[in-house]
């Protein structure tokens, strides 16, 4: 390196470079305007001189830079709070959004209130069944007949509470999220069915009800009808309507025959449960058709589950 004093530059094999004296003057803010401009022009294209300038600034600036760097590194190694608790322990599922503890997820999809409603419905049906067994005019049946007849409507108690817009404490905030609407309602309904159908089958088996296969299709039809009707009148009311319709269909004929619906009529119903037309082979075809129709209506009107229900709007100022 041969410093050339006159221009503040020296020449190497590849071209001109700034002299250390000029760099030191520039770093200290003592270079004249002309020298500064020419140096800045040169720095734009010359990495070597930029590195030299950095060295020239060392005595003053480097100490400050080092201190700042040390502080930043100290900050970054301590300041992001380690996330403790469930959020950290649960692995993220790709494509499923944020990791959420499975207990929390289960609690959100299968809501405690819906679970309780289903259990109450099953217990009521079992109670009714036990009440009507034994001392009937037919001299006692195998039992389980009434439970079997009412089984398709049992999940409706829980399905009624599956709508985000009608029943959820944070419904309005949830509706404004991309996951809201029919998707979340369907997941919740599925969770209710996944609990209540096996429960009804197990209880039925325990008390000797007829084979459960026959009430699965009506159950599906009633649930999808409730969901489809729910797009118009709200899911809670729709579940009540389709549950009521099922009870009318099953219990109605006995009521019309004898003019009353007492213990003896119920016992008669329970005894003849397997002959009930609502669960017969012709009816099964109709239930399948009803389920498909309701599903089509539901898909067509699914937007309804994405918006606030009219009840909210009435109460709002």
């Amino acid at each position: 390196m041969n410093p050339s004093e006159d221009l503040g530059r020296f020449q190497t094999g590849t071209g001109w470079h700034a002299a250390p004296a000029l760099l030191a003057a520039y770093a200290g803010g003592r270079a004249g305007p002309v020298d500064s401009w020419s140096l800045e022009m040169h720095l734009v294209s010359c990495a070597l001189c930029r590195a030299e300038l950095a060295l020239a600034m060392r005595p003053v600036e480097q100490a400050t830079l080092d201190a700042v760097r040390a502080r930043i590194l100290a900050d970054t190694s301590t300041s992001p709070q380690p996330v403790t608790g469930r959020a950290r322990r649960t692995p993220a599922v790709p494509g499923l959004g944020a990791p959420l503890a499975w207990t929390a997820r289960a609690r959100l999809v299968l809501q405690p209130a819906a679970l309780a409603a289903v259990l109450v419905a099953v217990l009521l049906a079992v109670g009714l069944d036990l009440l009507t067994r034994g001392s009937g005019p037919a001299g006692g049946t195998g039992g389980g007949g009434l439970l079997w007849l009412l089984a398709p409507a049992l999940p409706l108690g829980g399905v009624a509470l599956c709508s985000v817009r009608d029943g959820d404490a944070c419904g309005e905030a949830i509706l404004a999220t991309p996951s809201a609407g029919l998707r979340l309602t369907l997941w919740r309904t599925l969770a209710v069915l996944a609990v209540s159908v096996p429960a009804a089958i197990a209880v039925g088996a325990a008390i000797g009800a007829p084979q459960p296969g026959l009430w699965l299709l009506p159950c599906l039809a009633l649930t999808s009808t409730a969901l489809a009707l729910g797009t118009i009148i709200g899911l809670e009311r729709a579940a009540a309507v389709s549950g009521g319709a099922w009870c009318a269909l099953v219990l109605g004929p006995a009521l019309l025959d004898s003019g009353a619906l007492g213990l003896t009529e119920l016992q008669g119903l329970a005894a003849a449960a397997t002959d009930a037309p609502a669960l017969g082979p012709v009816a099964q075809g109709l239930w399948a058709a009803a389920a498909v129709t309701a599903a089509l209506v539901l898909v067509h009107r699914r937007v309804s589950y994405e918006h606030l229900s009219p009840a909210h709007l009435r109460s709002a100022a």
């Binding site: 996330v83 608790g85 959020a87 790709p94 494509g95 944020a98 905030a173 404004a176 999220t177």
Partner: protein, 288 residues
Amino acid sequence: MTIPDFDVPDLDPATGEGIEMSGLAVVVGRRRRTRRAVDGLTLQLGVGVHGLLGPNGAGKTTLMRVLSTVVTPTEGQVRMLGRDVTDAYARREVRRRLGYLPQTFGYYPRFTVREFVTYFAWLKEVPGAGSADAVQHAIARVGLADRADDRMKTLSGGMLRRAGLAQALVNNPEILLLDEPTAGLDPEQRLDFRALLREVGVDTTVVVSTHLVEDVASACTRVAVMDTGRLVHTSTPAELEDLGRQQPTEDAQTGEGRSQERASALELGYTAVLRRHRATTSASGARR
């Protein structure tokens, strides 16, 4: 000198397209008792903090519900972030970039704050990899970091409100809608909240519905006044203050401190704008 590699979070720059409403009307109520809660509203909102002022029943909450896409307008168009939200696909896309704190906001008593905010991160489809950090950041922003693992039933009303705010912030939204957010906060929390609003409003379209003029005075860059479903006035808070100072009123000089004076000037401007609107509507009603 070697520089260590930092994981810099990839922040989406706000598009700044904001909200455009034109001829918006919402009819609420049933057959016989219908009412136009929002009536012919045309308004554009860009990046910044917009205060939505109006008396009770002015249609503020209904408007917020339309903007949060939970209510479909009866007439008119809403474009959010440059998209028409009547299209289901566009609506989902907008909802991913939306934060909403409703006026009435329930909570799940057995959830911790972290679980609650994580649940909303999940609903808003915040990518799994960064979501634990996003949740922590949102909770820290509203000042609940020390209560993050407490169950919500142990929180006070103001804390629940802030948990609701954390839920709205967790997806780092480009549009943030807050309906009466300062209700239930004590004065100190209100100051913190307004500081947070100013910070968020740098790159986000924030709409704050309120009936507190102080909120507007201290945190908003624009103010829109609504009455009986109509837009009555839009300006900066300073312009509304100027309007207030021009009002010949006996209690104009009662303000003690500067901010109180500002607020009272704003208050006067606000009432003047409302009075003028009511005078013109009743005059046109009399002519008919």
